[in-house]
């Protein structure tokens, strides 16, 4: 066992897949000679050479489009968005070209588009986004959001091996803040589409993913201390395809559910989860389905502003206690 950070786990996953399969290559801005803005791909150029670690112009649409073309021809490209905020520049190619390719034309497009996502880092409106909802609405894509070092590794490896296009939202707040003992010499693969019960409980289910997992675990601990209530925390890990059964099973056990995500509220993924619970487990509910999300604003820069807009542990505690008393 050795203790590795979330970033190192991701790096190991990429490295192992590059070693395992010579169809895998990396493409993106400043990923080669510089090793990436966060150094996720540091050392890859030296090991794998410039035909498999390709530095590009500032062209997100071309990076994703070229990845798709190479994928049609049998390669397994991993495209980096320097910050996931810039994936919006490739929105057209991803949603219109990549996501439809198998359906409309029988074309296999096994690409991974990954990038540093999320806030809590004082990055301002254009280096802090969590644009999951923008792609959640697109059939044909898969979306994964690892919250742990183990899943950072397991999901990048699973995403690279997947036959379909996967967007991998890695949380930059977690990069160097969380560590985990991972076994050496053992293959770690996290199945895409499977949620994980991180904390078992019986009085309330919190459904969450990505960095919010850690705030929810903190909240669950506080609630237990305060009220003796038992809170289950479900880490979705994959948003598309969604592990609906895991959500419904947990809701049927606890009868109350709180959904927590970092993205903004209106049109956020919580709305869809709410609807599915409503369709499949309405009669099991002992209270309204509640959500804790960011406020509906662009994400501001200054610490008091960012802290106010993003959901914090205290917000989760408050909403959960209200629901427990309902």
């Amino acid at each position: 066992m050795s203790e590795v950070t979330y970033l190192e786990a991701l790096r190991q996953g990429l490295w192992e897949e590059m070693e395992r399969d010579d169809r895998v290559f990396l493409i993106g801005e400043d990923i080669g000679r510089y090793g990436g803005a966060f150094k996720v791909t540091d050392g890859f150029l030296e090991r794998f050479g410039d035909s498999r670690v390709i530095d590009t112009p500032i062209s997100e649409a071309a990076i994703v489009g070229a990845s798709a073309g190479a994928a049609h021809m049998g390669f397994r490209p991993v495209a980096e968005m320097q910050f996931i905020d810039f994936i919006s520049c490739a929105y057209d190619i991803l949603t219109n070209y990549v996501a439809t390719a198998r359906y409309r034309a029988g074309l296999s497009t096994p690409i991974v588009v990954r990038g540093p996502s999320g806030g809590f880092v004082r990055g301002g409106p254009f280096h802090s986004q969590m644009p999951e909802a923008a792609f959640f609405h697109t059939p044909g894509l898969k979306l994964v959001c690892p919250a742990t070092a183990r899943d950072a590794k397991g999901l990048i490896k699973a995403a690279i091996r997947d036959e379909d296009p996967v967007i991998y939202f890695e949380h930059k707040f977690l990069y160097r803040r969380i560590k985990e003992d991972l076994p050496e010499g053992e293959e770690i693969l996290t199945p895409i589409g499977k949620a994980n019960i991180v904390r078992e409980g019986s009085d309330l289910t919190i459904v969450t993913w990505s960095a919010m997992l850690w705030k929810c675990l903190e909240a669950a601990e506080q609630i237990e201390q305060l009220d003796g209530a038992s809170v289950e925390v479900l880490d979705l890990r994959t948003l598309l395809p969604m592990d609906e059964d895991a959500i419904v099973t947990s809701v049927k056990k606890t009868n109350k559910v709180l959904i927590v995500h970092e993205d903004t509220r209106t049109g956020g993924v919580a709305g869809e989860i709410t609807s599915r619970i409503n369709e499949r487990a309405f009669e099991w509910l002992d209270g309204p389905i509640m959500r804790v999300t960011a406020h509906d604003t662009p994400l501001p820069y200054s610490p008091p502003l960012e802290d106010f807009v993003l959901p914090q542990t205290g917000d989760v505690v408050k909403a959960a206690r209200w629901l427990l008393q309902y």
Binding site: A71, D92, Y103
Partner: protein
């Protein structure tokens, strides 16, 4: 192709073309034009579902440019590259089924007209977002380069698509990576109703190549042999490691954007003057005038095309449309069981 009895050859056939190839090119020109005529009939009978996009006046450059490609090369056509698709091996019956939304069509009714692909034959299905195929084809050409394969990509865009961001990003990336790609800009005068002068302030679309550090060429798009000759040079240059080039093919869209379009924005005398410059007529005049091919040989091919298309229409005209629930599968490689919407499961 059958060898005709050799007419007295007045001059050597240019561009390394053989008589057999000249005949084959003519076959595809005629096949394209006549297939579109058949589609017009089917459209008027209400059998074509949705729009019909004609390439009248552009068949020459479509056929001639695609004819330069070899087995293993991949091209991405546009809506007006029916001729290129046929050259690469798409079958008229497939085109007819696509236009009539049949369940038997290559896309099983999921996509329309020439939006389908066969990577074995070497054509990639386009999407409607103009310019997007340039980065995708850059990636396909990149795969050739990475594997060291002597294969070439060719992508068609129109004058309008050169204004789109994806065109710029794609051609720039391809140029920087020096991948084997030829970008053909079909300059046919209009993007829907927008004339080129309102599309771009450059005088010649070939000049755009300067900004990418790649060669830019221009050719009379209604001169079939000239289009073949220059495209061949650029394709072989790419194959030999020379990288990306851009070819502006100057032609004219004699029909509207689609069949419903009344072309009110296209001056009548402009259309007429281009009709006198028809690529098929010019080709026929040249190959017969030079004594390379006889009119009898061309007439034989006309008859063959006519028979083949009659058979193709008969083969598919009465095919069924797809069943509604065939719309569900294969969004993903291994889909979870398709969940019917809850209201479709209600037992009331």
């Amino acid at each position: 192709m059958s060898h005709g009895e050799g007419a007295a050859t007045a001059s050597a056939i240019p561009a390394g073309l053989s008589r057999e190839q000249l005949l084959e090119i003519y076959y595809y020109l005629r096949l394209t034009r006549t297939l579109e005529d058949r589609l017009v009939n089917l459209y008027r009978q209400g059998k074509v579902i949705g729009g019909l996009y004609r390439s009248l006046g552009q068949e020459g450059e479509s056929v001639a440019s695609a004819y330069t490609l070899k087995s293993g090369d991949v091209m991405s056509p546009l809506i007006r590259n029916l001729g290129s698709m046929l050259v690469r091996g798409a079958k008229p019956v497939e085109i007819l089924r696509q236009y009539m939304a049949k369940g038997t069509s290559p896309t099983h009714g999921r996509e329309m007209n020439v939006h389908f692909n066969d990577l074995e034959l070497g054509y990639l299905g386009q999407i409607s977002h103009l310019g997007d195929m340039v980065p995708v084809m850059a990636g396909i050409a990149l795969s050739f380069k990475m594997r060291g394969e002597p294969r070439v990509g060719l992508v068609y865009v129109g004058d309008g698509a050169t204004s789109a961001g994806a065109f710029h990003e794609g051609i720039n990336l391809a140029a920087v990576l020096r991948v084997p790609l030829v970008v053909i800009v079909e300059h046919n005068g209009y993007a829907y109703s927008t004339p080129t002068a309102q599309q771009t302030a450059v005088k010649r679309l070939a000049h755009k190549a300067l900004a990418y550090g790649i060669p830019g060429h221009m050719v009379d798009g209604n001169d079939v042999v000239a289009v073949y000759e220059i495209t061949k040079q650029l394709v072989e240059r790419a194959r030999d490691g020379g990288g990306v080039s851009l070819l502006e093919v100057v032609t004219y869209r004699r029909k509207g954007h689609a069949e419903h379009d009344d072309q009110r924005y296209q001056p009548k005398d402009e259309i007429d003057s281009w009709e006198r410059n028809d690529p098929v007529d010019r080709y026929v005049n040249r190959v017969t005038g030079e004594g390379w091919i006889s009119t009898e040989e061309l007439a034989e091919l006309d008859a063959r095309v006519s028979d083949e298309l009659a058979a193709a229409v008969a083969e598919c005209e009465h095919d069924s449309l797809p069943e509604g629930d065939t719309a569900l599968p294969s969004v993903y490689a291994h889909p979870t069981e398709a969940e019917r919407l809850w209201f479709r499961r209600l037992d009331v």
